[in-house]
């Protein structure tokens, strides 16, 4: 088994209201960051797991995103996988 680090980024589905993003955008504007055009806020899960290979790790990640981490009604997700340096068992 090898060890992987996953970053699963959950973002609000385009077209849906993102109140938190709006609030942050306004706050940034009033702080003088007037070049900001749009802000959306999502979650990221940093997961460590073991799997046979990268493909297996990715499949697991997709599976758990679909089932648990992302709300299928309101959110999309994206996955990045990187292998961790081997730790001797």
């Amino acid at each position: 088994m090898r060890s992987f680090h996953l970053e699963i980024r959950i973002s609000p589905r385009p077209g849906l209201l993102n109140p938190e993003g709006n609030a942050v955008q306004h706050a940034l504007e009033s702080l003088g960051y007037d070049s900001v055009k749009d802000v959306r806020v999502g979650k990221t899960f940093y997961v460590q797991l073991s799997a046979a290979d990268e493909d297996a790790a990715r499949t697991l990640a997709e599976d758990m995103s679909r089932r648990l981490l992302a709300n299928p009604v309101t959110e999309d997700f994206r996955i990045e996988v990187s292998e961790l340096a081997e730790v001797p068992a």
Binding site: G15, L17, P19, R66, R67, V73, T74
Partner: protein
Amino acid sequence: MTSTLDAQPARHGTAAEPRPGDPEITPELVSEHGLSTDEYEQIVRTLGRTPTYAELGVFSAMWSEHCGYKNSKRLLRLLPTEAPWVIQGPGENAGVIDAGDGYALAFKIESHNHPSAVEPYQGAATGVGGILRDIFTMGARPIAVLDSLRFGDLDSGRVRYLFDGVVRGVGDYGNCVGIPNIGGEVHFDRGYEGNPIVNAMCLGLMKRDDLILGEASGVGNPLMAVGARTGRDGIHGATFASEELSEDSQHSRPQVQIGDPFTEKLLLEASLELIKSGHIVGIQDMGAAGITSSASEMAGRAGSGVEIDTAKVPVREPGMTPYEILLSESQERMLVVAKAGHEGHVEAILNKWELEAAVIGAVTDDGMFRVREGDRVVAEIPALPLTDGCPTYEREGIESDEVRALRERDLGHVLRDGDLSDALLDLLDSPNIGSKRWIYDQYDSTVRASTVAEPGGDAGIVRIRGTNRAIAATTDCNGRYTYLEPRVGAMIAVAEAARNLACVGASPVAITNNLNFGNPERPHIYFQLREAVLGMAEACGVFETPVTGGNVSLYNETDGAAIYPTPVIGMVGLIADVSHVTGSGFRAVGDAIVLFGECADELGGSEYLYRATGEVAGAPPRVDLLAERALQRLLLDLGRQGLLHSAHDCSEGGLAVALAESAIAGTEGRFGCDVSLDDELPGTALLFSETQGRVVVTVEPARLDLVLEAAGAHGVPAKRIGTVERAGHGLKIRSPRAEVSVSLEAAARQYFSAIPRRMEQNVSVDRAATSPPT
């Protein structure tokens, strides 16, 4: 089935052009819009031509059950709506009654069942948002929220996921806006497995003179969109809410609406300031069917016309079509009719609250609901036929044989005598009976610093600051009773609500109601609907609690299985002097325990039956409305004289549970009790029947005679049944055929862990384990 309202020919031929790119109007498209062939023909006659795509969308929304009350309008006319204290009856955003001292109280209940079934958190949250807007558009400041919820059995993971999401949604929204939650109810029963019910009620207070109505009057006055921008969310929510759910609903659902309680709070403050400012003549929430319903209803009420330019509506996304803009159900938006020339003032108020306002149209005098996109007219519909011309149906109602058989079933098999301690402990562990603290601890119930009674008692109470007055409210409905015998069930719902109010010391004055039913096109369902309305009408008549408004949510079915018919009653009561409030918990050792009302063998539809056998069967308890009225008057009398230390009504779980609740759930610490009854009824029937018209009160022994005399004078059966004891004594109940002896710790453990222990599991797992594959 008969359809009313002959088509009214267009007064002058209306003109609207199709927009390049619009789909062709085909029978399939018409049917996708939930309109029948007859209804479509009526539209063609009304317009004198084929509707444009935008017009089809507009009719589809306005003539949906949700907006048009197609199947319920005729029944609703049977309800009593008048009393000297009613300031505004049904038809407006909310009903309004006189609350004394120059105050008026606006209140209403609203459902968000379908959205909550798809996305429980947002569905419930936006449900609360919508009902708050209905209240503050009347000029009233929201002062309390209640929520009435129904779910399947908590053994199901999906149900736990829905329950958890709904409670968080109700809580987060109300907490953020800062409106205390003062009560509600929740029932779990497999009858709600696929279709949770989420009803939210709001009460708002205003000075009588601040009342404002949703009317678009004054030709030339500008229409302004205020608050959040319009996005593509919830397009066709009203039509969606008027369909049965199916496997497909998960996919064919409209874009869900996301609630933004922060914007709502700003909109609330801005709207109240606008109404006081004198710069506007009317205001209305853009709720179901969005701009379409708010604009056409405002025109309909004022008998005027309106013209809107969709190109002027502030949108969240580029490229939105008139169809989308007209039907969007984006939240936290209002339509305002300003006084001509005052647009700048309106904008300034909105800007102060960091919100936007834009002129999107004007009031006209031609009775038309006209929509332009720049120069092109995309819809032109006579406003009255659109709002009031929705065809209404009176359908055939037939009682289902299956239900009749259930009702007539003999329940002899659950009659037991002897030691019933375990049966009581088991009932206390039912999530239908156990403490609801897990829910209401997630709700801020003390914000506004005016809450007199938080959730946990028979009714919630908020005082009117600066006066001695207070307002009480409760929601009630037992769907099992209504299922088994709809008319009786509805009467009981009204009676229980009134009894709950009387217990705390509030005179019942009016109700709002939410009719949650299945598909009315099915005769068995229409029967339930009609019977329930008749029962409600009769009870409200006897109690002089007119109906000032409400909501209808039909088609609560999944794959052909309907929910229990659930006519939720939201009742308000007035308290002239807040020092007369009575709680439901025992207060002092040595107090006499008195039972008002009489016990009977009525286990039909009871929680005991459901727990013991899994059945929902038998006849629901009988209800004697005149006896109920006498009981209410007695309680109010005694409360005013300060003779009661506690009062608690017997409902789910019957007498034994009522006694246990008064012992363990009181705020003044826990007490035991020693009760002995001389009734010869079978043990389970005596202890657990949900016989109506009964209240357990406690009084100082020295005042016992006064109380019994008063009961006699009101014609209410009353007898002393026991004494409040120290906690160490435990709960002891004895009768010729039954015996209960449980420790207080055991009872409290069951009662307080019933819901939390079932919700301990990680509920997100529940969604994952049960959500349909994507």
